[in-house]
């Protein structure tokens, strides 16, 4: 409001302009403002207010960490403004992208499921390799989701025999100690042999 004050009135209030130079209307306004200022100066002060205010002003600043923690734990206003059309698009995308539980795969008449399980407590990665993935260690990794050292994978394979090995940490080739069936691989090692049963009876 003070910014809207006429510079002449402002000057008269500050004593920089002689009030006799003012018009009667301007002089009346100056007198009303004077009276208001006098009334304000008579307002009773809250006891101890100055001390409390100065105490807060002079209190040393909290550490940056403490201020950050206070900022994190204190409620902060969050304003989210979305146009209705955007809201509808987001809802539609969520409906399209959410497909529910992964359904079990459809198997052919001559296919079965092989479950590979191996215990390698110190391993960082385990893969199963065989002719079914061209012996590529990166093709069929086993998982150890609960980090208990037991790795497993379920793989859909044609019914019948399959030779395989495990590859630990990408470089160590290991025969499955639980397979029970083995054949020489022609390269100085032994492949484990798995017989996959067709899921559907013949």
């Amino acid at each position: 409001m003070i910014h809207d004050l006429d510079p002449r009135i402002h000057g008269a209030l500050d004593g920089e302009l002689d009030r006799a130079a003012l018009t009667p209307d301007e002089r009346a306004l100056v007198e009303r403002l004077d009276a208001a200022a006098r009334a304000l100066s008579g307002t009773p002060v809250v006891p101890g207010l100055s001390r409390r205010v100065m105490g807060i002003i002079r209190r040393p600043l909290a550490s940056p960490v403490a201020r950050f923690r206070r900022w994190l734990t204190s409620p902060q206003p969050v304003t989210l403004s979305l146009r209705p059309v955007y809201s509808l698009v987001i809802v539609a995308l969520a409906v399209v992208l959410w497909r529910g539980p992964v359904p079990a795969p459809m198997l052919g008449a001559h296919e079965g499921v092989a479950q590979f399980v191996a215990r390698f407590p110190e391993a960082h990665s385990v893969a199963v390799v065989g002719a079914f993935n061209d012996w590529r260690p990166e093709a069929t990794p086993l998982a150890d989701d609960d980090h208990d050292g037991v790795w497993d994978a379920r793989v859909i394979l044609p019914a019948g025999q399959h030779e395989y090995m495990f590859v630990v940490d990408g470089e160590r080739w290991v025969s499955d100690p639980l397979a029970g069936r083995y054949v020489d691989d022609g390269f100085g090692r032994q492949n484990a042999v798995l017989v996959v049963r067709p899921v559907r009876s013949e």
């Binding site: 795969p105 002719a131 590529r136 069929t140 379920r154 019948g160 020489d184 022609g186 042999v193 017989v195």
Partner: protein
């Protein structure tokens, strides 16, 4: 005749990409020669390509890879000869030849394989041979194992149910039976050996393996 010649010309080219990418260059001429010879003799070539890829993945030397592929070809040829001698009607598919080849590799004598192959009618002998090999792996004699599986075939069992016969004999062993007792017990209940159903949820999360492009 012309289609056969075209096939022979195309086969090495089809396999070139996979082999060239994963098999040492020094092994390729020898591997190609074996594959071409096998194709000319109507033997399946895919097991030979797989054996070469296996050697490449395992870091085998070129000489070892060529030797292993040659041995695989010899096993397939031996398997086909055995099937012919056993009177099995041809032509023989890759799975059939590989089943016989693997049974021999697992230590079954030729005459036992021939006996089992001769007893299997209308289906491939794969599961029957696996069942016999499983029994011998558990210490049963080859002759008595083959006799049990032939008896199971005679009782009407076939395919993967023959694996249940071998599993039933193994369970009898685990229950404390001697091997002759186990065989006699299983033979007495044929064909009602318990089957092994797929455990609930066994297919959940199953994926198909990815092969080379």
């Amino acid at each position: 005749m012309t289609p056969l010649l075209l096939l022979l010309l195309l086969l090495p080219q089809q396999n070139d990409g996979r082999l060239a990418e994963h098999v040492p260059a020094a092994a390729l001429p020898g591997v190609h020669a074996i594959i071409t010879r096998a194709a000319q003799d109507s033997l399946p070539t895919e097991p030979l390509v797989e054996k070469a890829l296996e050697g490449g993945a395992k870091g085998a030397s070129p000489e070892m890879i060529v030797t292993a592929v040659g041995a695989e070809e010899a096993r397939l040829r031996n398997a086909r000869d055995l099937l012919r001698r056993a009177g099995a009607p041809g032509p023989y598919g890759t799975r059939e030849l590989q089943s016989v080849s693997l049974a021999l590799a697992r230590g079954l004598p030729d005459r036992i394989v021939a006996e089992v192959v001769g007893s299997v009618k209308d289906t491939t002998p794969g599961f029957a041979l696996h069942a016999v090999a499983d029994l011998t792996a558990h210490g049963f004699g080859a002759d008595s194992s083959a006799a049990l599986i032939v008896a199971a075939l005679g009782s009407g069992l076939s395919g993967q149910r023959l694996l249940d016969v071998a599993a039933a004999a193994d369970r009898e062993l685990q229950r404390g039976s001697t091997r002759p007792q186990a065989l006699a017990r299983v033979r007495s209940i044929l064909p009602a050996v318990p089957s092994q159903p797929l455990p609930p949820g066994a297919m959940q999360g199953a994926t198909r393996p990815k092969r080379s492009p």
